[in-house]
């Protein structure tokens, strides 16, 4: 009996210590990780909506928006220029069924409901799917569209490109349903 208590205690100490160390690591890196994400959003905000000033957008931008029960739409960021005129939105969406899983997209949509650009916030694709990110012709097929249901996928990277298209379409559908004026 004593032996089992001893073994349990050893495992408890090892796990407790590693939990403590991970807690410290998380505390130490979480601001930098959040900053990486915000930088990414701001960089694209400025790229897709050039009149929007480069400034930090807070992550809790979702509060005012309806129907985030659509679990694939994670966050919405408003693109407003200096005079506070709405230029469009950036939607952070989860793209389901990608090859590597866990794909998250930022999709820029203007006030007319057309895609002005998209990028990957989280991208776990390997092999040929990994090159979809740099495939300009695929990107050009999506930008300017108000629906991507008829856009062709990339040969050899069907999963990745289909997941991307699904993600963009989720953003467009959400815009049509909830944000369109």
């Amino acid at each position: 009996m004593n032996k089992y208590i001893h073994l349990t205690l050893v495992l408890l100490i090892v796990s407790g210590l590693s939990g403590l160390i991970l807690g410290f690591t998380n505390e130490f890196t979480k601001d930098a990780i959040r900053q990486v994400k915000l930088d990414n959003i701001n960089k694209n905000m400025n790229k897709w909506f050039p009149s929007v000033p480069l400034e930090n957008k807070e992550e809790n931008a979702t509060a005012d928006y309806p129907d985030l029960s659509d679990k694939n739409v994670v966050n919405i960021y408003e693109a407003k220029d200096i005079s506070d005129t709405l230029e469009g939105y950036i939607l952070e969406v989860k793209a389901p069924d990608s090859y590597g899983g866990g794909m998250v997209l930022l999709v820029g949509i203007d006030t007319e409901g057309k895609v002005v650009g998209f990028t990957y916030l989280s991208f776990n694709e390997s092999g040929p799917g990994a090159n979809v990110r740099e495939n300009n012709s695929f990107v050009n097929r999506i930008v300017g569209k108000d629906s991507v249901n008829d856009v062709d996928t990339v040969t050899g990277a069907t999963y990745t490109s289909t997941a991307t298209l699904n993600g963009v379409q989720i953003a467009l559908d959400y815009f049509d349903k909830n944000l369109k004026e």
Binding site: L7, V10, L11, S18, I21, L22, A32, V36, G102, G127
Partner: protein, 215 residues
């Protein structure tokens, strides 16, 4: 075994990729670009050296019955630290390696060295063993990635961070089509097989010469 022999065995006689054929999943998965392979090699070496040091330090306190779960907890903790640090300070590399960073936890080379070497040797020897094995692993996957990216895409990617992108395009004006199967999954197997063949041929040649010299 001298310290030098201990270090060199991981690179040559017991190279985890070319001789022991261990930890093949990332070897085949991340070697489509040189940058990915080098990043993986550095992350792997870091985790391996640290896990060897910690396992060697705690070996006398861990009862035999629970050594494997304890080692796995140590390795998983180290991998998570590397993952969070990379996500915060090297986001491009983090994005490129993707799922293969958390998978370092189940890389059998790391648990293998913890179990077979670090749990039986002192801290200094375990560190040297980890360094040798890590460097051997990095050299092996960098060789594979060099061949695959060069012939499969016609490029060599050395570094990517934000706007700094050191990538050489070695086919000017798309003069010829690269062998794109090499950067696909089957290309990883083909290249690894050919490399293993070449390395074994060289090894047998050297051994033959030695035995001829002896007789």
């Amino acid at each position: 075994m001298t310290k030098k022999q201990n270090f060199l065995k991981g690179i040559f006689s017991e190279n985890p990729v070319f001789v022991l054929i261990l930890g093949m999943c990332p070897v085949l998965g991340v070697t489509s670009t040189l940058f990915g392979a080098l990043g993986m090699g550095v992350a792997f070496t870091l985790v391996l050296v640290l896990s060897n040091i910690i396992v060697s330090m705690i070996k006398n306190f861990i009862p035999n019955e629970v050594r494997i779960p304890s080692f796995i907890v140590v390795i998983a903790t180290l991998v998570t630290i590397v993952q969070l640090t990379m996500q915060a300070y090297l986001p491009d590399l983090y994005n490129q390696l993707g799922i293969f960073i958390p998978l370092i936890v189940v890389n059998c080379v790391i648990l293998g060295r913890a179990e077979a070497f670090a749990s039986k040797n002192n801290i200094l020897d375990s560190t040297i063993d980890g360094l040798g094995m890590g460097i051997g692993y990095t050299i092996a996957i960098a060789m594979l990635a060099f061949i695959r990216e060069l012939f499969g895409a016609g490029t060599l990617t050395l570094f990517m961070y934000g706007d700094v992108n050191i990538k050489f395009n070695l086919i000017p004006n798309n003069a010829f089509e690269p062998i794109s199967i090499l950067i696909l999954a089957p290309g990883a197997f083909i290249t690894l097989g050919l490399l293993l063949g070449v390395i074994n041929a060289i090894k047998f040649n050297i051994e033959n010469k030695k035995s001829v010299g002896r007789s």
